[in-house]
Symmetry: C3
Subunit: 359 residues, 3 copies
């Protein structure tokens, strides 16, 4: 967030007690509790993002970047862990898919469109963007291989799918860690830090404020996510939608609202480097950090470990999103029509997820 | 067409009465009528193109561009509507496929080869070419999603395929309209108009000539297309080829002959911007304007609405053509070997369509 | 090889008699013979490469280039022919696959990583690299079309698969020949010859030395390959690995060891143009020269002709490798993280090949 005072965020905080009250008083009104939880998570996730960023700025360089890279998608991670505990691995995968395609298509599409309406052509560093799209390609490969493997070894008893998927998760995770070395250490010059200057003249920094905010918001997200995860199955049934659609579109939007807002504001100010870093970087983080982390965590918390076998349509959606961002970003410039194109791809994929029969 | 006097075109016009006579006198000689119709459409389609272009140049800017963008593929649209009326939706899809891959591979491949034999390296504007290939990606996504959907929901009664496909067609169509705003209004500077200068010193323009030509040629195309569509099934049987192959290769070539000629002439004159605009632009128009329009029209004229479910090999061919043009065009330059590569891809795909068993 | 004295190569030559002795004395110890043959081929293949290069440099221009383009992968070709004679077409395809993905991912990945550790950013000519990746795309298309064709015509008796595949091989082969005209004649300026200068001041050249080395090494490779091919099936069984894995990973590595070494040394010296030319050029040569040549040769030597139908996972691996190198190379620069990314893709694919059940 570029702004110091996040307008409307404090107002949304009111949904936290609302959700808790609904959950206590009318536990059978699933859709209502789900909706309240969705709105309640928005400000909490934003506060986690703000606190992380403040700490990152003051810790600076390596440690700060590391903090950002791990806590940046804390909400997704927490929702994922809670859903794993309930055994809702399909919901976890759906929300991972939704986060990946949402950041790339919806967040960056909206940023390119809004930015493009003010500036005819917007430029950004191709090396940094190229690294991001290649990371996405890598994670897509890490999802395609398990799917092909599963398809080829169907009917074969005891196919070693989980071993394969876990080892692929290790490769993805290790590559992500190396990419942090690249972005935070050896090539950090490529990655502009547009917001650091504004804060440099401030009075001595009080660490307690952001740390306190981080802890409080994390606890809040955990509590509210529990209600969200607990009501999602019933809500899907009541709304006549598939759990897949709810996961891909609704749950995924919740965790990315903050990124969405920041990227659009940055694009409007013609800071496309920062906008694409948020959009693609967030997708990459989900695919190469959150997803493998959830695979590892699933060994501990879930009723059974989670593999990397996404549904066919999820995989197709991720691959097509990857191709779209690669086509759009390879020349290092965007204009409003490219924003429209990304949003059109998102619309087509959402239509597919909407109509897809729940199996 | 760059030339004022299209050599040979008037001679080909003789095939119009020949086709009509054959149809009257020997209605059972299907292959002969088909062949005569093919040759008869060539000059008629060229005249539609010429008349459209003349009008577009004099109307200028927005309206002229709009005219070009809608009438530019009038022959394909007319053939499509007539085939829909006969319920030949597979033929419609085959000729759409053939137009898309033919423009991208055969037309642009021949242009890059011929141009490259005269000029070692030819350059063109990457932003304009990038917009075109991304539009092709968008339309490919609009065809992949229905195919995956169909495959996933096979065996499920009353899967809402037609709703999904129609809504996707709406998204594609809307994106195409927005792209016209981009090319004709906000970013028209990107799209050079190489032929406008030559005409600017002419005497007062007589609108009746091109309008008359447009009406006459459209009527002619309609009449001849009717014979073409009416004989295609029998012709395929007599020649021992599948209807798919005839649609993809022969029928598609017919409608694109004019584009083919123009693009090669332009490339030979080192006007690669215009050549790629014709080739990729024509593919895009087919995919995002003609195809959705035919879906909408099919609700009115056909025995049953047309969906967007192309055959697997058509889809593969379109996706591979898209990748080929993306690989070739992303660096903003071509040489003769890239023309050879595109033509080689076209040859491989045609071999596939030729040998594919009619199912 | 940049170095005049290939350290260690002479030592490895000792494995030639070792392999022969083992084969004579203990013919039932398959894995041992296989391992000795693997090590014995390494220096022999390197000597073929050296002799070819020396001759090519002194014959110069067209003929030299032609020699390099045909003898450059002599070891792969010889192994392939011997395996064809045994009817091991699956092994042939596996080693072709392994060579293609190994050159692109492992060889170029290692080169980019090692080079990138010394130089922050390394640049190379995008036109030359683009030609190479498009050639790879072409060959991938030449493998996808037979696979789709096979899948679509399953259950149909007498589907003309072999005709289709042979004709596709002709198209690929012809395109490769035309690409030689491009690289050796019309656009040879694009392809730097970084090593020619060093040799230009040498005394009169004795052709007998390299010709003799070429003949001797080729005979050696043939003899050792015979043992390698003869023991591969048993070795796979004894090691508990699939023949596919042995073919893709082990056999393919053998033939590319020389390329591997050269590319890494060149990258460390910041000669990325030469490094990418070796890596991508070698893949292209395998896909467009060795593979079609083996199809043609299979009509003569094999118990039955070889088609171009690769397994699904081989095809997926080739397509993903192609996308990876396209993403990495399109901007004309590399850094160490891109090397890591290519190696990560290679690791994921190898995991897939390892766990894939032998069918």
């Amino acid at each position: 967030m570029t702004e110091r005072t996040p307008r409307g965020l404090l107002a949304l905080l009111a949904f936290v007690p609302v959700a808790l009250l609904l959950h206590q008083l009318t536990p059978e009104r699933h859709t209502l509790i789900f909706a309240a939880s969705v709105f309640a998570i928005l400000p909490l996730a934003a506060f986690i993002g703000r606190a992380t960023e403040e700490l990152a700025e003051h810790l600076g360089g390596g440690i700060g970047g590391l903090l950002n890279a791990t806590f940046g998608n804390a909400a997704e991670l927490i929702i994922g862990i809670l859903a794993l505990r309930e055994g809702l691995t399909d919901l976890v995968k759906a929300s991972l898919t939704g986060s990946i395609i949402g950041n790339v298509l919806l967040v960056f599409g909206a940023a390119a469109l809004v930015g493009g309406l003010r500036h005819p052509v917007q430029r950004f560093n191709r090396t940094a963007a190229g690294l991001g799209t290649t990371m996405l390609l890598l994670s897509t490969i890490g999802l395609i291989v398990p799917a092909v493997f599963h398809w080829l070894s169907r009917g074969i008893p005891n196919a070693p799918e989980l071993e394969l998927d876990t080892e692929i998760a290790v490769v993805l995770f290790a590559t992500y860690c190396l990419s942090l070395v690249f972005t935070l250490r050896t090539h950090r010059g490529l990655y502009g830090r547009p917001r650091a200057a504004a804060d440099s003249q401030q009075p001595p920094f009080n660490y307690w404020r952001p740390v306190g905010m981080l802890v409080a918001a994390t606890v809040g997200v955990t509590v509210v996510s529990e209600m969200l995860v607990g009501t999602v199955t019933q809500t899907a049934r009541e709304l006549g939608m598939s759990e897949l659609f709810i996961g891909v579109v609704v749950v995924a939007l919740v965790g990315n609202a903050a990124e969405h807002y920041s990227a659009v504001v940055l694009a409007a100010n013609n800071q496309m480097d920062a906008a694409i870093a948020i959009a693609v970087g967030s997708s990459t983080q989900i695919a190469l950090f959150v997803a493998p982390a959830l695979v590892f965590i699933s060994y501990v918390v879930g009723p059974r470990p989670m593999n990397l076998l996404f549904t066919v349509f999820e995989l197709v959606a991720i691959a097509l999103s990857l191709l779209s961002i690669a086509f759009i970003s390879h020349d290092g410039e965007t204009h409003w029509m490219e924003g429209v194109q990304l949003l059109a791809v998102y619309a087509i994929l959402c239509l597919g997820f909407y109509y897809l029969p729940a199996i």
